[in-house]
């Protein structure tokens, strides 16, 4: 995280407005106080004592933290850092703490999701949602994930082992998407790497994004202790990756797509069977804007033999999932999801690939509502399925 003060960080905004049309919440509301420029100005004013922090709060609450504004800003404003510091000033609400304590502890999360599946309806009870967001819920309670039956890989066709990498299991990921981890392991093996699972749950990203800086720091320390020194840390969840790349683990951390591309996966993918299917790609904010990882997943997906890769309109605009945003701001999150879904339909794709569990679950929910004509997969799942000849 940035070492600068809030006043210094915010004062670098020259108010040019070049970020406005890249901000999802500005695009749908047209309101200055729901734009990056507006939010920065409110934070600066509050920090200088010219505005009550409480007045700024609702507008910061509505910020997705997607950091599309950072990509757009010619002046190099570090919006992510501003947001984290501002949220720290505001302090997380009790409801947020409750949500996070459940979500980021894998054992608790598993239990909660299992209980959730037994409750009537698919969503959080309305009363609880009112407490968290003041609105009725939109996001379904996630389901505990399972690992699909992958065909056995022909060991003799694999390259010899050339090294070992650590794979971050994560808090949410290992409960919701163990299958993504399995796909990642298989792909790493395909390019000659053995995997060391890092079980220590949580990197603290969700806490950091909610202004719980101390909790975030503690979690990071725990994680570090589990990591063999110097071993590359492979991450397949965009939000975690972007937080880790801003920590002192930044030298070691790599998104799985970066690592796999750099280690020759394209050749492996090309040698697979033909998969005739139309596929599109949604940029997770914390990959595209947070880590600048845009071309690597696309290059891998395009390498699938027979694939028809189509670009999604506004591919790098937030889908509204944004960590726990869709629980805290159900209405805005839903509007963003609808906008995303419209473009998915326009693309005519049968598969949407993306690199983050939040986006994955949220877009998949929409696909389910539409009757499952579209399948939502993690980028690495799609690729491993192609390698195993089971994508189309």
């Amino acid at each position: 995280m940035s070492q600068h003060s809030l006043t210094d960080l915010t004062s670098h905004c020259i108010r040019c407005g070049f970020c406005l049309e890249d901000c999802p919440t500005f695009k749908i509301t047209g309101e200055e106080h729901e734009s990056p420029r507006g939010r920065i100005y409110l934070v600066r004013s509050a920090e200088e004592g010219k505005l009550d922090w409480d007045e700024a709060r609702p507008h910061l609450d509505r910020c997705l933290g997607c950091r599309a504004c950072e990509t757009a800003c010619p002046s190099g404003v570090e919006y992510g850092a501003i947001l984290e510091l501002a949220r720290e000033r505001l302090g997380a609400k009790p409801a947020t703490k409750m949500l996070l304590s459940g979500l980021t502890d894998s054992r608790k999360a598993r239990l909660q999701f299992q209980l959730g599946a037994m409750m009537p309806g698919k969503r959080m009870p309305a009363l609880l949602s009112k407490w968290v967001s003041g609105e009725t819920p939109e996001a379904n309670i996630p389901r505990v994930g399972t690992v699909r039956e992958w065909p056995t890989v022909d060991e003799s066709a694999l390259p010899p082992i050339r090294g070992e990498v650590a794979l971050l299991m994560g808090c949410v990921m290992q409960v919701l998407y163990p299958d993504v981890h399995e796909a990642t392991r298989r792909l790493l093996r395909r390019v000659g790497y053995r995997v060391h699972d890092v079980l220590g749950g949580c990197c603290g990203a969700l806490h950091a994004h909610s202004g719980m800086t101390k909790e975030a720091g503690d979690r990071l320390t725990d994680l570090k202790q589990q990591l063999p020194p110097g071993m590359p840390l492979i991450v397949n969840s965009a939000g975690c990756g972007s937080t880790l790349k801003e920590s002192d683990l930044k030298e070691q951390t790599l998104d799985a797509s970066e690592f796999l591309l750099a280690n020759g996966l394209v050749e492996v993918i090309r040698s697979g069977r033909e998969q005739r299917v139309r596929l599109t790609y949604h940029d997770a904010c914390h990959l595209a804007h947070g880590q600048g990882v845009r071309s690597q997943p696309r290059e891998l997906l395009r390498a699938i033999p027979g694939i028809e890769f189509v670009e999604l309109e506004e591919a790098d605009t937030c889908c509204g999932s944004a960590g726990i945003y869709n629980i805290q701001q159900p209405l805005l999150a839903r509007r963003l999801l609808e906008r995303k879904w419209e473009f998915v339909q326009q693309s005519g794709a049968q598969i949407v690939a993306t690199g983050n569990p939040g986006c994955h679950a949220w877009i998949a929910q929409r696909a389910e509502e539409a009757g499952q004509q579209v399948q939502v997969l993690h980028t690495l799942q799609a690729i491993e399925m192609a390698c195993s000849g089971m994508l189309a």
Partner: protein
Amino acid sequence: MLTGDAVRWGAAVDRAYDCDAYTVDRSAPAAVVLPSTEQEVQAVVRWCVASRVPFTPRGAGTGLSGGAMPALGGVVISTKRLNRILEVDLPNQRLHAEAGVTNSALSKAVAHAGLHFAPDPSSQTVSTLGGNIAENSGGPHTLKYGVTAPHILTVRVVSPNGEMQEFGRRVVGGPGPAWERLVVGSEGLLGVVVSAWVHLTPVPKAVQTVLVALPTIRAASDAVASVIASGIVPAALEMMDRNILMALKVAFGLEFPADTAALLLLECDGEPKQVEEDFARMLAILKGFAPLELRVASDEAERKSLWTARKKGIGAMGRLAPTIVTHDGVIPPSTLPDMLEFVYAVAAREGIGVANLFHAGDGNLHPCFYFDDRDPKQVESVVRAGEEIMRKCLELGGSLTGEHGIGVEKVGLMHAMFGPEDMALQRRVKELFNPDTLCNPCKLIPDQKGCVEHMVRWRGVAT
């Protein structure tokens, strides 16, 4: 009549709307209204007139002279939800769009047909059609294609007394003066623009771009003069000084030879054969000025990266200091070296940083001051320096503004440019449309009722 979420107020909202991209003058509105239809705009204006509340139209708020700042408080009418393209008429190369559509969105909507909306202010990805019309925005390609005015066929406005009016005609030619030109550039004083028919221009078939590094400002400005004198009409002819280069290096890692004092960006566009000829001639002329480096874009990607230098140059300045203020004035192109010397001298005397960006082809200069607006002294210096530079522009036979408008920033200087008779006539025109000055008060025309106090206040500190 207005839906619930169309009216916003409260401490945060008022704060957010208290200025546009001209930051040294601020004034908070009492409320912000975001209408979604022209009927809603009309209803708001009528309410304001009946209640004697001042109102100020606002597009994206990227203006650089304070045009969207609610100088006397009251209501800000945002056009951001008037964001539909109403009709596209490709065979006749025109389209009808609402005021809140961004400049880039207009071009995007017709890109498949090989057309675009030619005015290209640097803010084009965010600035709105309504704002471009109000300010008569220009851009780098103004040299060949003109400012916003010649591309506007009709303008539909809600007049300051709440009536729907349409100026202009959808075809070329017709009786009487071109009334739409009265509205274009009137800085929102003659009503709230709600929609317009615009003329579309074919995207040029060929483009050639070159970036040239030169050792002195004199050499750069002589090179500009020679290119213009040769009869070539470049699509763009831009100049940047060494301080801009510093920002570009920090922001985008763009590097130039160490002794560069000025960068020129030149572009030719049109029919392939013509472009090739013109461009070759232009390069020959440029080589005569002993350039330190000459970068020709070999493809579209490289062309884009050369343009980054120009389009994001000002934005990149934010990396050098907390705040920037970009001025805007016009001089006869031949006086450029003298003018620049003057700008440097004024900045040095005031102890503030300045970088310069020019539309060199038409003498439109943009000195950009970088400073810390938390220091009242520096704010004063910047305001004083700006005024001096504007007076120098006039002295050299130029103008107070090329494309940013007068707004509140330069309203006090209007007397220096226009004589009493001229000023009286302008005032009469304004009063004809806007008799009780409720619509966007304190802008463009000096000495308006109730604005004196405001004028005094804004010479102070950004609060």
